[in-house]
């Protein structure tokens, strides 16, 4: 058995990087000594060899996942119970009787639909703005060369490290003077121009070889056309990552809306749910039903695009 065949076989779907590493390894490691046993010589750090260890790992992972999922299970199960059944001793994990009515009542007890609409509007608007301006600026930061570029980029990066609370008050005063407190526009302005999006997109753009844009320039394309027709299509996964991360963080944001939105009809799902908990703190089942409703859109989005989430986060941790 050849060395490379063993390496390739070790992973079901090797990523590009893994293949590249495997090729390098093949080039520098001497051929396998005959008789040493092809399997033994290729020590794989990925994956234990013995079936016992494999079973052990699966058991560990299953137990861990079960523990991590207890809160979700409790949430869903409680949302289908009667109020007085939620805190039973001993814990009743499966409701004796499924109270689907909770999911009907939650829409009438609080203006859930309004909250959902507000959250959706803010999340979509902010995501579009962040992705557009972020990728546009990232092009300037990675593919254009001009004076002051790097200083400016450092300023961007530095602000990521500054806690928002440090400048929350001046920001609030400015918004107040502009008459934007208690409007959706304040939340949009607050979140649509984040440095994080620029940073994330730049990290991706740096991986695209400069020769590509050089060639396009020689072909007579201007910079905007290069961005729109070459770079954007190439970085669709990055756009998806940024879009998903922005959407989820906007949907889940509490502090921004908490500070700026005071009218009930402007509230997001998070604020609505929190206020419901404050008013009816004994309506356990309904609270849980509301929580489930507030989480479902995010779960759907996450399951559809989880690959991009993981990539996006991993990229933001790359050195650059």
């Amino acid at each position: 058995m050849s060395t490379s065949a063993t390496t390739r076989a070790s992973s079901t779907v090797p990523s590009q990087a893994e293949v590249a590493i495997a090729e390098v390894t093949d080039a520098i490691t001497p051929p396998v000594l005959p008789g040493a046993g092809g399997k033994r010589t290729r020590v794989r750090r990925h994956g234990p060899i013995s079936p016992l260890r494999r079973v052990l790992i699966y058991v560990m992972l299953t137990v861990l996942t079960a523990i991590i999922f207890v809160p979700f299970f409790w949430m869903v199960s409680s949302s289908l119970k009667q109020n007085n059944e939620v805190f039973s001793i001993p814990v009743q994990w499966i409701p004796t009787e499924f109270v689907w009515q909770n999911y009907v009542d939650i829409w009438t007890r609080i203006p859930m639909l309004t909250y959902l609409k507000n959250s959706l509007f803010l999340s979509v608007t902010i995501t579009i703005l962040q992705v557009l301006t972020g990728s546009f600026a990232a092009y300037g930061f990675s593919k254009m060369h001009f004076k002051g570029r790097d200083v400016l980029f450092v300023a961007y990066i530095a602000t990521i490290a500054v806690p928002w609370q440090a400048y929350m008050i001046p920001q609030y005063i400015m918004m107040q003077n502009a008459g934007l407190v208690n409007t959706h526009l304040s939340i949009i302005l607050l979140q649509a121009f984040g440095a994080f999006g620029v940073f994330l997109m730049r990290q991706y753009y740096l991986t695209i070889p400069d020769e590509l844009s050089e060639a396009a320039r020689i072909d007579g394309l201007n910079e905007y056309a290069i961005w729109w027709r070459i770079i954007l299509p190439l970085t669709k996964p990055a756009l998806a990552s940024l879009a998903l991360l922005t959407f989820v963080s906007t949907w889940n944001d509490y502090m921004g809306p908490f500070i700026y939105l005071t009218s009930n009809d402007l509230w997001t799902v998070q604020l609505g749910l929190r206020s419901f908990v404050g008013q009816y703190d004994a309506e356990y089942a309904l609270i849980m039903a509301g929580s489930v409703v507030s989480v479902i859109p995010i779960v759907l989005i996450f399951l559809l695009g989880q690959r991009y989430f993981i990539q996006g986060i991993a990229t933001s941790g790359m050195k650059g």
Partner: protein, 302 residues
Amino acid sequence: MAIAAPPQRTRSSSRVRRNALVGWSFILPNFIGFALLTLIPMCAAFVIAFMKWDSYSPPEWVGFANFARMMRDESFWIALGNTAYYAAGHIPLTILASLGLALLLNRKLRGLGFFRTAMFFPYITSLVAVAVVWNMLFNPTAGPINQFLELIGVADPPGWTTSSAWAMPAVIITSVWRDMGYYMVLYLAGLQAIPQEYYEAAEVDGANAWQRFWNITIPSLRPTTFFVLIMVTIASFKVFDLIVVMTGGGPGRSTLVLSQLIYREGITENRFGYSSAISLVLFVIVLVFTVVQFKLQQRKER
């Protein structure tokens, strides 16, 4: 883009200028928003911190009076202590948990993608839902956590969010549960970047699994750990949402943290100057931690 040896000076400088214009035009749409809403407020915070400014009177320069007041403000010291308490629990536990999960998941086994997704799940769940559910789980009399503790023989389980001694641990547990999946992804990326031949060479030299972990994995992960450490530290010091929803800073002031105090002083009480001074202290703390970590990292790399 390199400008290849231009024959005429004037043409090259005009080209550079045009290039700069085009470059700026890319950055501008984002930069306007960024400058207005981040840079300017950030600089303003430094100035406002030295002013007496509330909604009743115009701003007035008072020098260090806000800081002097802070020194006498019991709430400030309590909030500072609680923030440090939270950070001291949240930072190491999150790093250990996320590294542990990443090590466990960094292998090629069928179905591992499912577990990875599952462990990332808490991070994307909305914070209010998380806080509300955990509050119920921590219910001192009938919550599942205390029922479980009683089952395994803990005679007098803690009161969690209803007790001032146990509220902070409850918040820390919840936040570690929520955040570990995020940092696990960063660690997984770090682990996958370690060249396989390091391990092979070590194996040939007869290093056992523990030695390989200690001498290859940990040093190779240093850049990742550095990044994670900085991110977790910043996140710890600015914790707000989780505490506001879970405990509201209580019972008493037992979980009051700095960012909550800033919110209360600045936005509820309209004491802009004083709250900006507290923000400045928070900023300096985060800055000092980041710089120290940078220095340590540099020394290790040398």
